[in-house]
Amino acid sequence: MAKELKLMKGNEAIAEAAIRSGCDGYFGYPITPQSEVMEYLMLEKPWEKTGMVVLQAESETSSINMVYGGAGAGKKVMTSSSSPGISLMQEGLTYLAGAELPCLVVNVVRGGPGLGTIQPSQADYFQATKGGGHGDYQLYVLAPASVQEMYDFVFDAWDIAFKYRNPVMILSDGAIGQVMEKLYVGDYVPRWTDEQIRKIAPWATFGKPTTRDHNIITSLELDSAKQELHNLKLQAKYREMEKNDVRYEEINCEDAEYLFVAYGSSARIAQKAIQLGREKGLKVGLLRPITLFPFPTKRLAELSKKVKGMLSVEMSAGQMVMDVRLATENRCKVEHYGRFGGMIPTPHEVLEAMETKIINA
């Protein structure tokens, strides 16, 4: 594969990846700090290059329902937004999950609650990983920590979305969305032809041929017994994700006595804190969950038998720390350190928190 080196914002990388990964449609609504995604697409005019449809909708509610329509018709479709807009999309997301539709939703998280702030945050962890809308459902959640991962995860998202017929969320934050970094981009993946869609998504509503009954995309089943069966099928799917598609990264874990657990921007900060800690002779490491659902529960359970304590570093009041505690089952001390409302912790304060809350506590 030919690789080209680019310098881009995280948000632009998402847009470039959409075009190059054979995405059929992007539907969105502007919101800071992710507006560059649609701006970049509109400048690039992918409809002339690959035939990709790009449309600015009247709201996030409308965008996510456009995604529902396109996904139900077997197309690779996506949207992106930031926290308040993602809240508006929760209705659409639960319908997408209920109707088992593959799609990609990017959340470039900003501080909340409410209108909050436009600065980076990780306070939408619960919303992303515990369903978000009504009913028992899960999104597959990827957490990029670099501009390169913003790009790469778009490709991964299509694989997972169509493998499980499930919405995939890229849970980023305002820092990763806005920062400019170098990244390698690869060849264009062609958009699927109608024939390919018929094979890959035979369940989709692309027009009824005479050879089959009509396809129906819906999340409604009024017969409770059947609705329970449908729910069991969804749960089985989530268990499969937990079995086969958990992703994480370990940094300096081999000899670590103390672990940072952090994803996205916080993982980048924790990495620097490790460097500072190691300089002081502290045996610190990092477990970076790449998938937030499914969560690396098993690996954290194993590590909890080896280390003396873990510090969950998040730009939130303490959300992922709940999952870390569930995974470690009191085998080691688990604490949380976070800044929130748009504030970003420094590596020094993160290391200090490790020392005061875990090592010297």
Partner: protein
Amino acid sequence: MTFNQEIIKPENLVYTKTKVLTDAVMHYCPGCGHGRIHRIIAEVIEEMGIQDKAICIAPVGCSVLAYNYFEVDSQGAAHGRAPAIATAIQRLYPDHHVFTYQGDGDLAAIGTAETIHACNRGENIVIIFVNNGIYGMTGGQMAPTTLIGMKTATCPYGRDVQLNGYPLQITELLAELPGTCYVTRQSVHTPAAVRKAKKAVQMAFENQKNKKGTSFVEFVSNCNSGWKMSAPAANKWMEENMFPKYPVGDIKVNGEKVIKNA
């Protein structure tokens, strides 16, 4: 007792249910207009030979299960969102015939934004709007189109303007938008009305074939259960009360407002 049984032969057949409707028994109340409107649409799809390109977007409301009756690929929308869903599919499959089927609560209350913006963008879709002035599915509550003074479960003393505002003539509103090509109001309470309404639906799908923009067909219909009347009485009440507020006829044809004689 039987009559004229000797003429019942295939060569004498003049009317039977179209194959673009499934054999599922419709869940609608006896006498409901939905069944007739479904059939008109299905007949037009059959006659135009577009069954393999037709995609139905069903709403939330009484016609939530419409996808069980149309023998075409279908999607069930969240409440009010059908025009957004139709927008995406039509843009991704520009030669298909995507149509939404929506009630007054779905289209003119919760989905007002989706409706107006799809029409304003001139999406090349067909919107079928069934207006019976009431929420049927949830048990007869007030709709945006409920007439002043009309009693429903949530305006039990009659719709009061001070409390509930005015009935929304969304069809006239949509005719003002440059994106709409064809805007019409029809009914299906008599054989003549059904025949006329079918021509309107046909024109809507023809416009779509010729990529002329949004075609919007309102049906003033009955809800005999919600109105608490027999079906024939509901049709009569509709003529006397609904038609003065929601007059039947074309409002906009080929992008031009129809000038009515003063």
